[in-house]
């Protein structure tokens, strides 16, 4: 089986434009998630909203090339699904990504 089909410039340009648009919106999505995660420590409704927001980011960010943001959102969703408290380390990584949403990994954003 061959690998990925060749990407012609039209498709590549269209993907790049979509990616730029998503990147412009990503800090807002990350900041909202960080806020909900912080509030969720004491607010059940905020915790559920954080879980939904994390799930959406998890399934979306990677398709636009922002794997680090998606993977971090996935870790947060899993933590919330388990009923556990979101570790401070994850929240710090999330807050760091707000400023550097295109970082390749949460660690590199710190």
């Amino acid at each position: 089986m061959s690998g990925a089909p060749p990407v012609n410039s039209v498709v590549g340009d269209a993907l790049a434009a979509l990616r730029a648009e998503y990147l412009a919106h990503l800090p807002e999505l990350l900041a909202e998630l960080a806020l909900l995660v912080a509030r969720g420590a004491t607010d059940v409704e905020a915790r559920e909203r954080a879980r939904v927001a994390a799930h959406r980011l998890r399934g979306t960010a990677g398709s636009y090339g922002f794997e680090a943001a998606g993977e971090l959102a996935g870790r947060i969703e899993d933590t919330l699904d388990e009923g556990a408290a979101v570790p401070a380390e994850l929240l710090r990584s999330l807050e760091a990504l707000v400023s550097h949403p295109a970082a390749r990994s949460p660690e590199s954003a710190q």
Partner: protein
């Protein structure tokens, strides 16, 4: 709900797989950014006509109106979720036989088995690579594998 048609030059690229002709795909997801990148992938890379729906009820209406050859269905949606939508599709004459591929961001073996047990043709994991997605779909429809 919107439609993204393949360009006329691509109409010869009808995908014929295991006796199933795929020309029109219904993509269902409540997340706008997922719909947008999927639309681009399926229409420009896959060269299929794409119908978009943002919810289970929209999907049911679009399936009956458009009679797509394949449905990509998000699992976790507010209101009517993916499995419930599939159940409704299966109960409706004329659309019950349309292959459905679930798309999910939570990939656990037991969940995948459950989705397949409900009658899904396969499961695609999110996030997907927009360049690879059409090929993953083809492989599932061909029966090469059921999870991508």
């Amino acid at each position: 709900m919107t439609r993204a048609s393949a360009a006329p030059a691509r109409r010869d690229s009808v995908t014929r797989m295991a006796g199933t002709v795929i020309e029109k795909v219904l993509m269902v997801d409540d997340e706008p950014y997922v719909r947008r990148v999927a639309e681009l992938s399926l229409s420009r890379v896959g060269k299929w006509t794409v119908i978009l729906a943002a919810s289970g009820p929209e999907a049911l209406a679009a399936a009956e109106r458009e009679r797509p050859d394949l449905i990509l269905l998000d699992v976790m949606m507010p209101g009517m979720d993916g499995p419930t939508t599939l159940s409704c599709l299966q109960a409706r004459a004329g659309v019950a036989e349309i292959p459905v591929i679930f798309m999910t961001a939570k990939v656990q073996d037991r969940e995948i088995e459950r989705y397949l047990g409900l009658g899904a043709a396969g499961v695609v994991c999110k996030p997907f690579d927009p360049i690879q997605l059409p090929d993953q779909i083809r492989r599932i429809v061909l029966g090469e594998y059921r999870t991508a």
